[in-house]
Amino acid sequence: MLPKGRDIIDWLIQKYNVSEEESLHVGGMLVKYGYIYPLKEPRSLVLRPDESPYRFQVSRSSPIQYVYLDTIYLAKKNIRKQGELMEYEKERYSVLHKRINHTWDFVVMQAREQLRASKQRRKADRIVLECQEQAYWLINRPPPGVHNVLDVGLERPNNFSARVTLVSGFIAFIYFLFVKYSEQYLNHDPIMQGCLPSNPWISDDTAHWTMNADMVPTPTRLRVERWSFSFMELLEDSMGRREFMTYLEKEFSAENLCFWQACEDVRHGESSRIVEKVEDIYKNFLAPGAARWVNIDSKTMDKTLEGIRHPHRFVMDDAQMHIYFLMKKDSYPRYLKSDLYKNMLAKAIVPQETKKSVFPFMRRQRHSSPSPAQAATQAEDGQAKGAGQADIDRIFVITEINRRTQLRCLS
């Protein structure tokens, strides 16, 4: 049973022991500020002392949540209206995009998910939620020309307490992402699923590490699969990065990755070499007619060139981010669909599971590895010595049992 306007007024009269006039005033403020919203005529934020149905908004959020909710709402509208947002909404959308650029995927995912979920709702529920959202944003982001009830003068740290919000589905979606992440990485988690050919700490065989070293002629399948999980995974693997560079060279856009790497070098390198490195970057990538000129939007370019006059560690940040997202949105998805990647995946190794022995004293000799502290050439990992198998009469060799197997009855 939805409370009607009349009910709310009566409740206020009783609760505060006030007259009808005062109750109408208080109730009106509650609607204006969004604590209660009308289901009929959602754009008209008044409390009618009649049979009109109203609903209560749900509780408050923090500033960070607010930013996300705002963005998700606009993203949804953008998708539904295929880009036909109002001018003030477009502006706001662009500001928000810059602000939470690094989690943009999450926003788009959430917007799509919410749109999909709303299609599956009952019509009545859908209408209620749409009214709720619409009313909320009408108050919290009034169109130009409309009085902003939430204007509290100068911004003070505790202003956000006045905001109410919709959190339905948002938190649940985040939990859903946790589940998805652990599912995606399950096979890559050695403690959960074991690793091939065997876990070095258990079998004393370092084959797993040898097969996954930086410089191998053929990588393992799991490793190549992982490059498709996210752009960051691809770039963090030196082999993945090399492969991606090869692909970009074919596309004549390798300068993007080179530029990104050079910027990383500035950000994380020695302070004393910053000036020199920034100069190099300018010469090679940014100067007009540069050999490997990168395509950055004019606003970012201007800002960067200005910053270069007084170089510091973070001077390339904006430009670097721009190129990073360019590669992520454009080259990376195409790389994953390319023959280069598909062939790599096809010829990748799936190591054979090592048949293990049961007894501790079957342990192999543990060979040391060259310390990273020395500039070493590849040292040979010695062959494991066969232990004295003859003395033991109860040797049986088993394959690694999937640790999630339940007790199997023999009969």
């Binding site: 996300y68 999450f106 589905g169 985040i174 988690d189 403690i191 310390s371 049986f396 640790r403 023999l410």
Partner: protein, 412 residues
Amino acid sequence: VQRSPLIPEMATQEVQLNETLAHLKTESETLKSKLEEERAKLHDVELHQVAEKVEGLGQFVMKTRRTLKGHGNKVLCMDWCKDKRRIVSSSQDGKVIVWDAFTTNKEHAVTMPCTWVMACAYAPSGCAVACGGLDNKCSVYPLSLDKNENLAAKKKSVAMHTNYLSACSFTNSDMQILTSSGDGTCALWDVESGQLLQSFHGHAADVLCLDLAPSETGNTFVSGGCDKKANVWDMRSGQCIQSFETHESDINSVRYYPSGDAFASGSDDATCRLYDLRADREVAIYSKESIIFGVSSVDFSLSGRLLFGGYNDYTINVWDVLKGTRVSILFGHENRVSTLRVSPDGTAFSTGSWDHTLRVCDDCYFFIGIKYNQNLCTFNFTPCAPDKPPLSLTATHLPKYSNLKKHIYRST
């Protein structure tokens, strides 16, 4: 003079008043808790509810694969090398040791000029280590392979705080170090020059731990302190961008979830908690009534499904991050577990303890086997507690083979 007959009346009234007050108080308490209940209902679902359909993990059995002996006193901190097998560890007596944990060989040893070396870190290149403690500094030692060379000779003093160093970490390269201190601040330093690049103020008490975010923009880190707060910082501006305060005591350890969207914390209040950065709130608590000692350190398995916690009651508890349940408990250390890290490729985790040792652990399984002919063959598989063979090994379980000798085998 007329007062005495009034006093009994007043007394009765007073009693009545007190009774009413008491009654109102209980009523208000009841209403309060009812309100909390209703508010809780308005909240979205819990993480474990969303994870209901996810397959349960069953019990894990953890086993120590390596024990590193060599420290003469409490081990306080450790860190893995990117090569997935080397470890640096530091202890109360000022010793810092670099081990090849795979062979258990010690490769380098340094004696610091101070005791209680609470922080140590391996450089990303594998060519240096950083450490510090009661000297209020963080020093970097390049690792030399010349056995005759004294590592201390090439020592570089990088960070200077006004109180003890609680944690340190290299950023993406050997060139910068992030530190946290008992002086309530964190700081970012340039290794080469020792220059302070940025300082982070906001904690109201000692900062005990920090962790760098694995995000693609690589610009944030989280810290935890004695003020029960976990703060997320922007490395570039020095601003605190998010803060979480739900623990009831000191936060001893913080660690990012592998995706970088969340982090876990371990506290003296005997709980581990998970905080999501997008939802901007705590999303799970990992606790049990039987666990009453503080958590000293936490880390995730590679997929983020498991959370390992080292506790002051000498144990390691392993939690299912999604379901909130404990999937394993590991005994073995003879004193507090002071530090815990999962190896870079997730193949094992290492713990350091006040019992002077470090251990590298993994999971394993036990099974019941039957000898049949000389080359045995079939196995029954059952998880059970370490060093405790399954009790009911009777014929009723294995009717077909009741006349054969049964043995209990354990995996290596």
